[in-house]
């Protein structure tokens, strides 16, 4: 593969565009400049670090190291899901639901892809396993977080409706059926939309990267199709997992709503 290597000068030309934008924002008092610069610096540092980590991982090929890295990625994703909730769940459960649903949405799906579809030798080949896991975590996290956020907010806002339905003799599951459907939609719609627009409006980053790296477009497209299927299915499973867990958690054994398990809005 012969990629046109980028020199630091090339990157600094691109960075100067951001600086120009920051200057413009400062002049027009748009108030975005400091955030923009901090985010850019963070992005550069984080990517350089992960580049080093990946380079190291590829050279060692130790299964334990890969397991360790993947666990750290999973925990970080679970934590991030919790952090995105306006009404957080009290105690350890908030992390528990984030980590478990990210495990379902990404970890299990990535394992399936590595073992059944990609069949590399060794199966944990870091050049495949880490990018796959990362891509799945990153893309399914949004859906899981959106759905969980909507669920906890709706439980709080619609307390009276849920209780009214319970009073009329509906089961826990019937009483929240509309809310559940709403959250499933919220979690999945961005993904369904992006699937529909892919290739027509947008060229996915991974595919573009592969093409830039010299892969024949049709091979890159096949990988993109694979990853879209995995992200779609993973998101759906992860969203369902989060909804079921949170819903069960917010009722007690007599199907009474227990909203004091939610922290006040931040």
């Amino acid at each position: 593969m012969n990629v046109a290597a980028l020199s630091p000068l090339d990157l600094s030309i691109a960075a100067s565009l951001i600086l120009l934008l920051a200057g413009l924002s400062f002049n027009l008092k748009l108030g975005l400049e400091s955030q923009l610069i901090i985010a850019s610096v963070r992005m550069v540092v984080q990517l350089l670090l992960i580049g080093l980590v990946l380079q190291f991982l590829f050279s060692t090929s130790s299964v334990w190291l890969i397991i360790l890295v993947s666990q750290v990625m999973l925990l970080a994703a679970g934590r991030e899901v919790r952090a995105r909730l306006k009404r957080k769940l009290r105690g350890f459960f908030g992390y528990h639901v984030g980590i478990t649903s990210m495990f379902v949405s990404s970890f299990s799906v990535a394992l399936l892809a590595l073992l059944v579809i990609l069949r590399q030798d060794p199966w944990y080949e870091p050049r495949y396993s880490i990018p796959f896991l990362g891509m799945l975590l990153g893309n399914t996290m949004t859906g899981v977080a959106l759905a969980s956020d909507r669920l906890t907010s709706l439980f709080y806002e619609q307390k009276e409706v849920i209780e009214q339905r319970l009073m009329l003799g509906e089961s826990r599951s019937e009483a929240v059926s509309d809310i559940r459907r709403d959250c499933m939609r919220t979690g999945m719609i961005p993904l369904v939309n992006s699937m529909a627009a892919t290739g027509l409006v947008s060229l996915p980053g991974m595919m573009t990267g592969q093409i830039l790296g010299g892969t024949p477009p049709i091979e890159a497209v096949k990988y993109q199709i694979l990853i879209m299927f995995l992200i779609g299915a993973g998101s759906g499973f992860g969203v369902i997992c989060a909804i079921v867990m949170i819903e069960k958690h917010l009722f007690d054994d007599r199907q009474r709503l227990v909203l004091d398990k939610l922290l006040p809005e931040e």
Partner: protein
Amino acid sequence: MSLSYPDGPLLQAESLGFSSSGPYSLSLAPRCCAGLDGISGVGKTRLLRALADIDPSKGRVTLNGREREQYTPPQWRRLVAMIPAESRWWHPFVSDHLAPDYKRERAEDLVRACGFESDILGWDVTRLSTGEKQRLSLVRALLRDPQVLLLDEVGSGLDQDNALLLETVVRKYLDDSGGAALWVSHNPEHLERVATIFITMHQDRLQIRKENDLISP
């Protein structure tokens, strides 16, 4: 408070307690309508919520001699139906809120008994006024055949005519079905008309003020 009835009580609560209130004891005979009053904030709504098993509570509650825990929560709440002061409507049309197995004819009879034309069942819920919602929330509950009605200031916002209609509907339901009601109200005239027992709620006990016809014919 402990009473004995010829047929045995329908609903009985012993040492019922929630947060720092109680323990309360209460028993309702078939066809009895208990009026419940007490100063604001004493916990009348919470008492109803505890009886309906919407809020957790300590103590023993039985219906027809069977303990609450022997019923599934939906069964219990269908039999011991709470009608809150402010009803909620979440589907687009009134009829969407009725029990899935409701009988059209019976629903229309009940609606008319509450002073409506029967076409109100097809109305969009956003058209309903507060008073209409209150009366329809009674219809909605009765169509699920409860044995005990827990009415939380239902009828308090209604004009005299509609309040009377509502009272008649409840009275008739209790007579026909052999059910019982616990009706929270701050209106003494209203309670005088409907109640067969009068209960005043205090922080630590329920006090019976007057008993009219405990032994129903």
